[in-house]
Symmetry: C2
Subunit: 164 residues, 2 copies
DNA sequence: GCAAGATTGTCTGTGCACAGATTATTTACG
DNA sequence: CGTAAATAATCTGTGCACAGACAATCTTGC
């Protein structure tokens, strides 16, 4: 921790700020991986939101369709757990998909508490188009990283996620 | 994209789920670094919040005190930009610190639109205590990573942050 | 069989991040 | 000088994530 500097406020002159006041964030991100992670995720999330703005599906809805396509009909609970989306958020997510006619809430035959969320035939093309946009999405979000660095990132995130 | 499976719902039996329905997230995190990043950050943020729950300062307030201590009095604008905290959030953040008597809103001598947020003598010990907790905080948040992996993470996040 | 607890989907309220409008002040320009 | 544009702090409203409560239904222990 550096000694507090004398009460010098931002100078309106063009001198290069010996205290590093204008590049302070870089230094902070160097010594605080937690802050760096949070701020970088904000940047990535913003990029994702921009990219998805014009499209038909939100990211959550895209993931729901993908999981249903991969493993078959699921309860909202299963979708929530595996996609790490809160149950109460999943409600609105499925609402939207149902309104668009991409999924149906059928009753689970053996557990009438649960739905069996099921894909409709209309979902196929929509999901396929969304999937086709993923590579471009990742390229924009991770422009700064090489392919090898993206794999490293994936590995590190996997380790963090594994310990809950 | 795997072919849609037949309409088989979650079986109540104990058979090991050939479809991988119960480990679906692991597969998803492997192929979607963006999702992995967002979910891992949620995990880290939760850990941080738990750790900070009993303490006097929020993470944002801690960072404000640290920056003021490092570079001297700043306007809220400078704090917002460098700490990547929204201006409108910074207001409440400084409010809290002022109520606790740790900073004062003095007027900037050459720009009466801006404040000169200034540390009080009481801030020293509080900041020092907060700083002393950081290593333990990081250890909890990144239990899953070795020291080398944490440095790698810091480097990758830095690259993402550099391109804005 | 039945009472107690767990689970599913839903709803509500809180807190945070973000965009936009507002006011006071400063800077730029004709 | 004096008007227009830019900036600092603030306030308001929106959208999202999360915790907790709730009713309906299932499961478990006795």
């Amino acid at each position: 921790m550096a000694a507090p500097q004398p009460s010098r406020l931002t100078s309106p002159s063009r001198e290069p700020e010996a205290g590093g006041r204008d590049r302070y964030f870089s230094r902070l991100a160097q010594e605080r991986p937690d802050i760096a992670l949070c701020r970088a995720t904000t940047v990535v999330t913003r990029t994702l939101d921009e990219e998805l703005a014009g499209r038909q599906l939100t990211m959550a809805q895209h993931l729901v369709l993908k999981m249903l396509s991969d493993v078959g009909p699921c309860s909202q609970q299963e979708l929530s757990e595996q996609l790490r989306i809160d149950r109460s958020v999943m409600v609105g997510c499925i609402d939207g998909l149902e309104d668009s006619g991409l999924v149906r809430r059928e009753r689970h035959p053996r557990d009438r508490r649960a739905y069996a969320v099921t894909l409709t035939p209309e979902a196929g093309p929509v999901l396929e188009e969304a999937e086709s946009g993923v590579p471009h999405l990742l390229d924009r979000a991770f422009v700064a990283l090489t392919a090898a660095e993206r794999r490293t990132l994936t590995r590190l995130m996997g380790k963090i996620l594994d310990v809950h």
